[in-house]
Amino acid sequence: MEIRVDHVTRVEGHGNILASLEDGRLKQAFFQVVEANRFFEGFLRGRDWEEVSHLATRICGICAVSHCYASLQATEAAMGIKVSEQTKLLRRLTMNAEQISSHALHAYFLAAPDYLRLQSVLPLVKDSPETVLRAFRLKKTGYDLGEVVLGRHTHPVAAIPGGFTLMPKLSEIEVMRERLVGLRPDLEATLELFLKLEAPAFERETEYVSLRHPDHYAWLGGEIVSSDGASVAAENYRDALQEYVVTHSTAKHAKWNRDAYRVGALSRMNNNWQQLRPEAQEVMKALGLKPPVHNPFLNTAAQVVELVHCVEDSISACAQILNEGLQEEELEITPRPGQGVGVVEAPRGLLVHDYTYDERGRLTKANCIIPTGMNYGNLDREMQALLPQVADQPKEEVQRLLEMLVRAYDPCISCSVH
């Protein structure tokens, strides 16, 4: 059996599936990444410290906020810039916004059609418009929440080293709080939908890697932890995340304690589920998820759990902002030479930016490690494990399962190549 899928659909970027079986035995199976390199790490060099996040956020159109904050944190660490509690709160709120927008996009538009045996959500526009409108409502609320704070979700305007150019209006935060509360019935309907969607029965235990923060479900900062028990401080990421080049991908692969590891919603839930909001833990239980979950297809279910967490956490954050008010901050920063690392949990997983600046505040060195790149090695091995198990099924079904597996990673391919 030979399977070749050129430019897998319903994913961000360009990648192909190449798989073959001989007499029911695996010959080869891998995800070929053919996306063009844009060389961000190359052309960021020479740019002024104030311009770097404007450029770096453009690595990705879906997780622009994550790249923006990884970039800002790296610059702030390099220059010893401290940010206020208010800035941390607004950043947490907008990280939630990005997860809401990105997870809604993936769960509804990219992943769900497979389970419903549809090519896309387009047939639902006619047959079940309420489902499509609900998906848009979830996605758009996340998007608009980002816009209220950042001026624009893709790509953020107002986030700069040290904080924000302008504070959002409290009246806008109040509107967003109400809209977020209004999403609760949509979240219930989402749970009902995903209770009906049965993931293929397949398990493969692997190494789950994520950030961990002592105080909360980690989105920004913290240490890098592995389900194998190891942990490293963010600035020592090189001790853990080892990148290497393979001949079938323009994006690099990565490994840590084993030959591959996994990042993203499933890893975060497996590693940090006790820090999820109670409402999200309820949904986790309702979906039958008992960490550690080893079925890779259930990454989408983990995204649904995080959707609930992020909506509830955003409602709390908005309430706190409305209670405490927002103060414009004077940001007076003198650039200084140095090296710094920024780590965040992008929707698709752990993201690292590492910058070095010279005495004029010009960037001299950049290294960005992207979650989807970290996942490719694990995806290849999972395809290789899945294929022999489904060898007796018709080719179309095998292809469908392989595509579903790729989509379950919610890959962000152009981002991974950058």
Binding site: G13, R58, G61, S120, R152
Partner: protein
């Protein structure tokens, strides 16, 4: 064109943020979908067709091996819409043209590239990289939607024009005009530099509205109002040269210096009284 035009989305080197912006329009997109047939959109649907009327193309061209795919799209489409700064100008990655290609490839791929001996085809296809260019460098483009990312409203407006067969005239005032209409404080008055005076509007001055400056993502206006731009800059003790460097972020290939020099030359001929004997604009 058929009653319901068939629309296909494609992309090349980019972040896909402009297609994402289209997906984020929300409910109005559902309305738009009643008037068009989306037949191909890799990022959002699995339906595929080689037959389409309107091709919406995001991204820049960076590899020669991608050009045949782009040309095939042009052959099939009645209308080609370039979506966003990468497609219209080359995008931020255009700055990589300032560096030696081999140096960039060694930086990213290290030993693997060095061992390949600089080869970038056949078994070494992963290393292929070329000059970053907008899609108009390879094919004729009918409509350009500028911006990094695009403005969602402009996308809907463009589709409306295409659907009723009206020519679309892209905005061609400066971002300053939108700042003034919105009564935003001038960025120069805040003591910062801004590309607003020479940048094409259509974004509703989104960056300056949030207290930032214009980075020129929509490219330079067709006919820069040199006098107005000069006035703004002179008021703050600056020359045009001082801001042209900033233009490299998006418009490296558009050669803004050359465009400005040409504009100045034309103005010098048409209205020599503006220049006196020694004053230079740029």
């Amino acid at each position: 064109m058929a009653d319901k035009p068939r629309v296909a989305f494609f992309d090349f080197a980019c972040c896909e943020g402009c297609q994402l912006t289209v997906l984020s329009i929300g409910a109005p997109l559902v309305t738009l979908l009643q008037h068009i047939d989306v037949v191909t959109w890799r990022e959002a649907i699995s339906e595929k067709s080689d037959e389409f009327d309107i091709a919406v193309v995001e991204g820049s061209i960076t590899r020669d091996s991608d050009v045949p795919r782009l040309k095939k799209i042009r052959e099939k489409a009645k209308v080609v819409v370039a979506l966003g700064a990468c497609a219209t100008l080359g995008g931020v990655q255009g700055q990589s043209n300032l560096f030696q290609r081999d140096e960039l490839r060694t930086l990213v791929y290290g030993d693997a590239f060095t061992k390949a001996g600089g080869a970038d085809s056949g078994d070494n296809w992963i290393f292929e990289a070329g000059e970053v260019r907008p899609i108009s460098a390879e094919i004729p483009v009918d409509i350009e939607i500028h911006g990094c990312p695009i403005n969602a409203d402009e996308f809907v407006t463009v589709m409306e024009h295409v659907l009723v067969g009206r020519p679309y005239r892209q905005p061609n005032e400066s971002v300053c005009s939108e700042c003034k209409l919105n009564q935003y404080e001038c960025v120069y008055d805040r003591g910062q530099m801004c590309l607003g005076p020479v940048t094409r509007c259509g974004c509703n001055a989104i960056c300056t509205s949030k207290g930032h400056r214009c980075f020129g993502c929509r490219g330079m206006m067709d006919e820069v109002n040199l006098n107005a731009a000069r006035d703004v800059l002179q008021e703050h003790g600056l020359k045009l040269d001082d801001i042209l460097g900033m233009f490299r972020i998006y418009s490296l290939r558009a050669e803004p210096e050359k465009k400005m020099a040409e504009a100045e030359e034309q103005l010098r001929k048409a209205e020599p009284w503006r220049f006196g004997s020694t004053t230079s604009l740029a």
